[in-house]
Each structure stands twice: as structure tokens, then as C-alpha cells.
């Protein structure tokens, strides 16, 4: 691709893209519009998340993701928290809370894995 300057002062990229009739500012505008669109979509989902979930729920999801719990483990821990009447995020942080809840309400295998991941492996 080579840069060519036309007689009327316009800048053209020779070779690709195929259609040299689209000016650069249009590309830049399209890029900006795409960024804004992505931002809007992200904001919408963040807003929707905030509307649909409580701060505790969001804290649980983010912490669980950060602690690299798998989907099944995350669901199991969340269910355990709901059944035990404890905020699920507490089960991710407090070993005592996790053990108390598990001894009373849960013995699923995914919980075993989650416990092992949460309390027996170094936090990354």
C-alpha cells in the first residue's frame, strides 16, 4: 500500500482498501461511533446489572469471578448462601461462614471443589 496525493489535495491510500472513495474522517467517525456504541452497550448492561441485582449479588459475582470459581461452583455456593440465609459473598471470604453453612445445608461435590479452591489454594 502506498500513499498518493491527488491533484486537488485529497489523500488516497493506494492498493487496499478496495474502495478509495471513502475518506479517512469517515473511518475515524465510524470508529468513534463504534466505540460509543460499545460504551453504550456496556453501560446498558452495567445499568441492567445494577437494576437486576443487589450490591451483594454483584459483589458475589465479581469476587467469585476473581477467585476463578467455575460456573457450577458459583451456582452451588450461591445456592448454599441462599439456603443458609447468609450473603453468598460472605461464603467466599469467611471460612467459618462457609463451613457453618455447608455443615447445615450442603454436601454437593461442586461445593467440595469450591471449598478447596477458595480455602486450600493460594489466591491469585
Amino acid at each position: 500500500m502506498t500513499l498518493a496525493i491527488a491533484g486537488r489535495g485529497a489523500v488516497w491510500l493506494e492498493g487496499t482498501p478496495a474502495d478509495p472513495a471513502i475518506p479517512l474522517w469517515v473511518w475515524l467517525a465510524a470508529l468513534g461511533a463504534a466505540a460509543i456504541g460499545v460504551g453504550l452497550v456496556v453501560s446498558y448492561f452495567a445499568w441492567r446489572d445494577a437494576q437486576l441485582h443487589t450490591p451483594l449479588e454483584r459483589a458475589f459475582r465479581r469476587t467469585a469471578r476473581r477467585l476463578r470459581l467455575r460456573r457450577a461452583e458459583r451456582i452451588a455456593v450461591h445456592r448454599l448462601g441462599v439456603e443458609a440465609g447468609v450473603a453468598p459473598v460472605s461464603l467466599l471470604v469467611s471460612r467459618a461462614a462457609f463451613e457453618a453453612a455447608r455443615s447445615a445445608h450442603g454436601n454437593a461435590r461442586s461445593l467440595e471443589r469450591a471449598e478447596s479452591r477458595l480455602f486450600d489454594e493460594p489466591v491469585r
Binding site: P55, L56, L67, V93, S94, V123
Partner: protein
């Protein structure tokens, strides 16, 4: 295995708005070992980012926090605490009420534990907010029905703010019945340790009385008396006075010798404040004779001073006056020396004589000054007891000596003392010549002292001397002469002529005699009213004295006006006191047959 702190640190990547609830919920669910770390993390977050709603949000965590961390948390939320407390108390929503209670109890608990923390709370202006919150919670009891609110009020009633105090002292507060129920529950839980504190509040006084009078164990009673110093408060004494003497005696048992020093001291301190029988007070003092603690013995002597059983008091005081502790011995010697009657002073004479060899200088001084002298004329100021004894044994000789001393007076105080002695011994008639001479003395103290003595006589010469004294230059002599005439010989002069005298005392004596002579008359009433409204403060003060002495219920309005608006503080104080006395007299007169003369006055 990752440590607790590492897991907690994993929450730091969350936004603060998510971290706060996550930490609070985790703190509530965590084990004992994890809570300090979580609380520290929460305190750190609150210091970095404190929202107005943070105090209420973290309130559930305060209930489960260890003591140190709870203090840190309260300090972290201190700037937002007053606003949050007010908002929560006003909201009257159960969750916010509960949060306000948690915050209140945490703040009060921390303040109770640490004076420095208490100062920090005061600096942050939390005190009024706490007061307001508790007040709102107490007044809104019917809406939230939270007994914890009333328990918080009970727990803090000793240091209640103005609003809670007003609620406690209110007459018809809807929450008082529930308050009493909560207090009864609290008194069953922690027997009667706060009962004396509660006595100051009418809403709780009944529960406190029942707790103190009930069949509490002896140890619980001694525990309650730890606040015995609070019984000096008139309100508490009044409240406790409604208990029968049997209960009061049970509260201050004589057989407390086996108890520790503090308990014995508290018993004696209580005994000084309660209305115990003289016999019980003497018994308490007697039982404390051998007490190893000097403060207990000191209070025992004070209790003895209050007991009126004279002979028994003197016996025990005599024992205490030889105490090894100087304060105890001095106080006991003072009790012996203060005996009023001749028989008691003669009885105490031997003890006081023996006390002249006391190892304590102050006791020896009291003994030297107070021991009855064998010779009435041995000292500059005659001893009344020795004088009475000498008068009994040799009336003529005593009178001659008295007259000779008055004939050639050495100095003014001695002459006044001799005249006072003659007055006490009823010898005015025997020294009439000296009185007639001395009333013209240039010494105003001597001349004024002669006037009341001459007033006791009925001779013409004495009457003439009194009338002449009405024209004396000195106001004090004139006032005493007018008083003597008004009280005993009113026919000698027209008191009404002095009702406008420039001297307040002379004028007061004149008006007083007018009121006494004709209580319902218009002239005395007008004269007293004019004096009460006089522009001179001394005259108004004397008029208040007349109103009080003659119990002039008709002048109650004028006196009350003076109490409310007189520019002179002293006049206002006296007027307030007089108005109270008149009110008391009016109430008293309701229980008596109607006295039309007083009502008219």
C-alpha cells in the same frame, strides 16, 4: 492455604459501594477469629469513603464486632453519626429503628469504656443527637414497640440528656408503662444495681423502690449501695423516703461488720442520707466503734450527730472522741461540745475535761474552749453553765457581781456578753438601773442590746427610756426600741407614725406591729404593699421579711412579682423563698380550720 487477610484483600478490587455491604454481611456471618480483620478492613474503607448512610449500613456489624474494632468503627463514622442517628430515629421504620439502637448502644458503650472516646463524641456533637434519637425512640414506642429502645433509655438514664430527661419526668407518657416493665425485667436480670440511679426519675422510682424493698439478697443490697453517694440528691431521698422505716433499716443493716470496707462505707453513707430512726442511727454508730476504716468511723460520728437520742449520743460520741484518727476524734468532740442543754453539757463536762489530754491538738482546743468552767467569771466571756450553777447557789452574790461588772464595763463585746447572759438567765429586772444607764451609751451595740431587755420590764422608768430611745441617733437602737415596744408594750408609742421611716428596719418593725395588731385591716395592708413596692431595695427586702414573718397571704401576689422581676438578685432570692413559704402556709391552712383573719390579711 490462603490466610484470612488474603481472602479479605480480594474484596479490595470491588467498588466501594459493593465493598461496604459485602464487608458488613461477611462480618455478621464470620467467625470470632475473622471478625477483627474484617472490622479493620471496614474501618479502613469508611475512613477513605464515608457516605451519609454509612452509619446505618454498618449498624448490624457493630453488634457483633469485638470491642476494640467497634470503637474504631464508631470513630470512623463519627462525622456522619449525628445526622444518621437523627434520621433513623425520626424515620420510625423498624429496620432503621433497630439500626439507630445499635448505633446508640455502640456509641454509649464505647463512651462508657473510654473517657477519651467520650470526649471525641462530645467534640463531634454526637451527644445531642444521641439524646434526640433516644427521645424519638422513646416517644415513638407505640409505633415501633422495640423494647431495646427502652432498655437503652434505662441504661443511660443516669446521664440522660435534656430531652430524654424531660420524657422520663413527664406525667402521662404512653411509653412509661412499658418502660417500667422493661425496668422490672432488667432488675430481675441484674438485680438492683441501678435502683438508686433510677430513684431520681419519677417514671422509674416505683420500680426502684420495689427492687430495693423486695426480698433481695444481702449481697445484692450491698451492690445497690455502691451508688449510695447519689442518695444525697433530694429527689432520690424523697423517693426512697416513701419506703417504710423497716425497709430502710434493712437497706442499712447494723450487722454489716463482716462486709468489705467499701460496703461498710456505703452503708454508713446511705444512713446519712436516709430518714432512719434515731435508735437505728445510734445502733449503726455504736456498731462502727471498732471499725478498722477511719472513713466509716467518721460517717458513724456524722450519723450520731443526726440522732437525737441525747444521752445515748453523748455516750457513743465520748467513745469516738478518743479515736486514733484526728478527724473522727475532732468531730466527736464537736458533738460533745455542741450539747445545748445544761444537763447534757454537765454530763459531757467530764469527757471534755479528759479530752484536754488528747494527743490531737485540734481536739484539745475544742475541749479547752468548750469544757464548762467552774468559775463563771474566770474568763472574759462568762460561761453560761457555770453562771447558772453559780446563780443557783448564790443568787445575790451573782447579781451583785453582774451589776458591778456592768457598772464598770471593760469593753463592748464583754458588756454585750454580760447583757446576753442576763437576758438568758432572766435577770433584766435585777439590772434595771444599769440598763437605764447603758441605753443612753454612746456604744450602739450596747445601747441596742439594752432595748429588748428593757422591753421585758414593766416599770415606768423603763418605758420612758424606751420611748426616749425612739429618738436616738442610731437606727439600730431606734429599731430595737420600737421592736421592744411593739412586741411587749404597744401602748407606749404609736407605731403607725414610724410606718414611713427612712430606716428599713424601723419601718419594718412598725409595719409588722401594725399587721400583728390588725391582720385584716386596710392600713397595715396598704403600708406593707407600699413597702413591697418601695424603690429602695433594702426596704423591699425588709417588707419581704414582714410578709414571711406575719404570713400575710394577701401580699403573696406582690411577693411573687418581686420574685419574678425585681432587679436586685438578693431581693429576688428572698422573695422566691418567701413566696414558697406563703404557698406552703396556704396549703397547710387548708388542712386546718379556716382562719378568716389570715385570709383577710
Amino acid at each position: 492455604m490462603p490466610s484470612t487477610s488474603e481472602r479479605i484483600l480480594s474484596l479490595r478490587r470491588l467498588a466501594p459501594s459493593l465493598r461496604e455491604p459485602a464487608l458488613v454481611e461477611t462480618l455478621c456471618a464470620a467467625g470470632e477469629e475473622e471478625r477483627p480483620f474484617l472490622a479493620d478492613e471496614l474501618a479502613l474503607l469508611l475512613r477513605q469513603r464515608l457516605r451519609p448512610g454509612s452509619p446505618l449500613a454498618i449498624a448490624p456489624a457493630l453488634d457483633v464486632c469485638p470491642r476494640e474494632q467497634r470503637r474504631c468503627l464508631v470513630l470512623s463514622i463519627l462525622p456522619a453519626l449525628p445526622g444518621a442517628l437523627r434520621e433513623a430515629a425520626r424515620a420510625a421504620v423498624p429496620s432503621e429503628t433497630s439500626a439507630a439502637l445499635s448505633l446508640t448502644s455502640a456509641a454509649l458503650g464505647c463512651a462508657h469504656e473510654s473517657p477519651a472516646f467520650s470526649e471525641a463524641l462530645a467534640r463531634a456533637g454526637v451527644g445531642p443527637a444521641l439524646d434526640e434519637a433516644l427521645d424519638c425512640l422513646a416517644r415513638g414506642f407505640d409505633e415501633h414497640r422495640s423494647e431495646e429502645a427502652l432498655e437503652a433509655v434505662i441504661a443511660t438514664c443516669s446521664a440522660a440528656g435534656p430531652r430524654v430527661r424531660a420524657w422520663l419526668e413527664g406525667d402521662d407518657e404512653p411509653g412509661h408503662m412499658a418502660l417500667r416493665a422493661a425496668a422490672r425485667t432488667a432488675s430481675r436480670r441484674a438485680p438492683i444495681s441501678s435502683a438508686i440511679v433510677w430513684l431520681a426519675h419519677p417514671a422509674l422510682a416505683g420500680v426502684a423502690r420495689r427492687a430495693l424493698a423486695g426480698g433481695a439478697a444481702a449481697n445484692d443490697r450491698f451492690d445497690a449501695l455502691r451508688s449510695a453517694h447519689l442518695l444525697r440528691s433530694p429527689a432520690r431521698r424523697r423517693a426512697l423516703g416513701l419506703l417504710g422505716s423497716d425497709h430502710l433499716q434493712t437497706l442499712c443493716p447494723i450487722d454489716a461488720c463482716e462486709q468489705p470496707d467499701d460496703a461498710r462505707l456505703n452503708v454508713m453513707t446511705s444512713a446519712l442520707s436516709l430518714r432512719l430512726s434515731d435508735k437505728h442511727l445510734s445502733g449503726l454508730s455504736s456498731a462502727s466503734l471498732q471499725d478498722p476504716s477511719a472513713p466509716v468511723r467518721l460517717r458513724a460520728v456524722l450519723a450520731l450527730e443526726r440522732a437525737q437520742t441525747a444521752r445515748m449520743t453523748d455516750e457513743i460520741a465520748s467513745d469516738f472522741s478518743f479515736d486514733s484518727d484526728e478527724r473522727v476524734a475532732r468531730l466527736a468532740a464537736g458533738v460533745l461540745a455542741d450539747a445545748r442543754t445544761v444537763s447534757r453539757r454537765l454530763h459531757n463536762g467530764a469527757s471534755l475535761s479528759a479530752l484536754s489530754r488528747s494527743p490531737h491538738a485540734s481536739v484539745r482546743r475544742i475541749a479547752r474552749v468548750s469544757a464548762p468552767s467552774s468559775n463563771a467569771w474566770g474568763t472574759d466571756v462568762p460561761c453560761p453553765i457555770a453562771a447558772r450553777l453559780e446563780l443557783d447557789s448564790d443568787p445575790e452574790g451573782f447579781t451583785l457581781e453582774l451589776r458591778s461588772r456592768l457598772a464598770s464595763p471593760d469593753d463592748v463585746p464583754q458588756t454585750v456578753a454580760l447583757l446576753t447572759l442576763a437576758d438568758r438567765l432572766g435577770l433584766a429586772g435585777a439590772i434595771e438601773d444599769e440598763l437605764l444607764r447603758l441605753i443612753g451609751s454612746a456604744q450602739r451595740e450596747v445601747a441596742s442590746k439594752c432595748a429588748p431587755l428593757l422591753g421585758r420590764l414593766e416599770s415606768e422608768a423603763s418605758g420612758a427610756a424606751l420611748v426616749a430611745a425612739l429618738g436616738a441617733d442610731d437606727d439600730r437602737v431606734r429599731a430595737n426600741a420600737l421592736e421592744a415596744i411593739a412586741v411587749r408594750r404597744p401602748h407606749l408609742a404609736d407605731c403607725a407614725a414610724y410606718a414611713d421611716d427612712a430606716n428599713p428596719r424601723v419601718r419594718a418593725n412598725a409595719i409588722r406591729s401594725l399587721v400583728a395588731r390588725d391582720p385584716g385591716g386596710s392600713e397595715p395592708k396598704e403600708a406593707l404593699g407600699a413597702m413591697l413596692r418601695d424603690r429602695r431595695p433594702h426596704h423591699r427586702r425588709s417588707a419581704i421579711w414582714i410578709a414571711g414573718r406575719t404570713r400575710s397571704l394577701g401580699s403573696r401576689t406582690d411577693v411573687a412579682e418581686l420574685a419574678a422581676s425585681d432587679p436586685e438578685p438578693e431581693v429576688r432570692t428572698r422573695a422566691e423563698s418567701c413566696a414558697r413559704a406563703l404557698d406552703a402556709w396556704r396549703r397547710l391552712s387548708w388542712t386546718r380550720p379556716r382562719d378568716t383573719r389570715l385570709e383577710a390579711a
